[in-house]
């Protein structure tokens, strides 16, 4: 049976951790023990934040849509309500992109939403 020397794998394990921790602050990029502890946390944060990223972007799109809607004299809340009543299924990602790159199309969507709102709520 082939002989396995332990040092090869031990070195490889430490090298992988230290390479992963490169760029970290202070001891955390230099000492194996500190780097290992930090990598355990970093992987957890990365896993969590890949999921949080979906919500973060939705939040940003809503902020941008609200800014563009207010420039057209309407709040985000009423815009979404109006679009739903008008049966316009444009999602927030596309709405936000229109707000940045195509203001005229966005304005026409605002008008469509305004037309679909009941008269009492469409005021101003």
């Amino acid at each position: 049976m082939a002989r396995v020397k332990r040092a090869v794998n031990a070195h490889k394990k430490r090298r992988t951790i230290l390479e992963g921790a490169s760029g970290y602050r202070g001891q955390r990029s230099r000492l194996y023990r500190k780097a290992k502890e930090q990598m355990l946390h970093s992987m957890q944060y990365a896993y969590r934040d890949r999921r949080d990223k979906k919500g973060d972007f939705r939040q940003l799109w809503i902020t941008r849509i609200n800014a563009a809607a207010r420039a057209n004299g309407m709040t985000y809340n009423r815009l979404i309500q109006g679009l739903r009543l008008a049966g316009i299924e444009v999602d927030r990602k596309i709405l936000a992109d229109l707000a940045v790159n195509d203001a005229t199309t966005f304005a026409s969507l605002v008008e469509a939403a305004r037309a679909a709102l009941p008269a009492t709520e469409a005021a101003a």
Partner: protein
């Protein structure tokens, strides 16, 4: 499709003048903070300064509600033991009204490096004069969109 990400060079910055006469301090500050952060623009991004410049004139005529003029106190600390200084808003608004407005706006901006960068675009003057005529600032009216 990628979400738009503003580059430092491509942000248009405008100048706004807000007349603070008889405007309630906090309500003035929310509008100033929105403009400074750029939350009124569709290109807003939380990690970049996308905002405009804001000039506030007549800061000395700003209004406080209730009895805050008598009771509200501004604190600061020198760092030395016993170094807590305090000044009431009645005194602050007569001596340095621009400081009162700056404090109110600063509290509504992010408390980080970006926030400290944003506050530098705010220019407050106690009287009706301001030296930024060359920037051709546009008067900003405080109004609310009805729901």
């Amino acid at each position: 499709m990628r979400t738009y990400n503003p580059k430092p060079g491509e942000i248009e910055r405008h100048w706004h003048v807000i007349d603070a006469s008889d405007v309630v301090l906090g309500r003035l500050a929310t509008h100033a903070a929105t403009l400074l952060r750029g939350k009124h623009k569709p290109v807003f991004a939380p990690h970049v300064d996308t905002g405009d410049f804001v000039i506030i004139i007549n800061a000395g005529k700003v209004a406080l509600t209730g009895n805050k003029r008598q009771t509200k106190v501004a604190y600061r600390h020198s760092g030395y033991p016993g170094g807590l200084k305090q000044v009431g808003y009645d005194e602050l608004l007569t001596k340095r009204p621009e400081r009162a407005v700056e404090l109110a706006v600063k509290g509504m901006l992010p408390h980080n490096r970006l926030g400290r960068q944003l506050i530098r675009k705010l220019k407050v003057y106690p009287g009706a004069e301001h030296p930024h005529a060359a920037q051709q600032p546009v008067p900003f009216e405080i109004k609310q969109i009805a729901q």
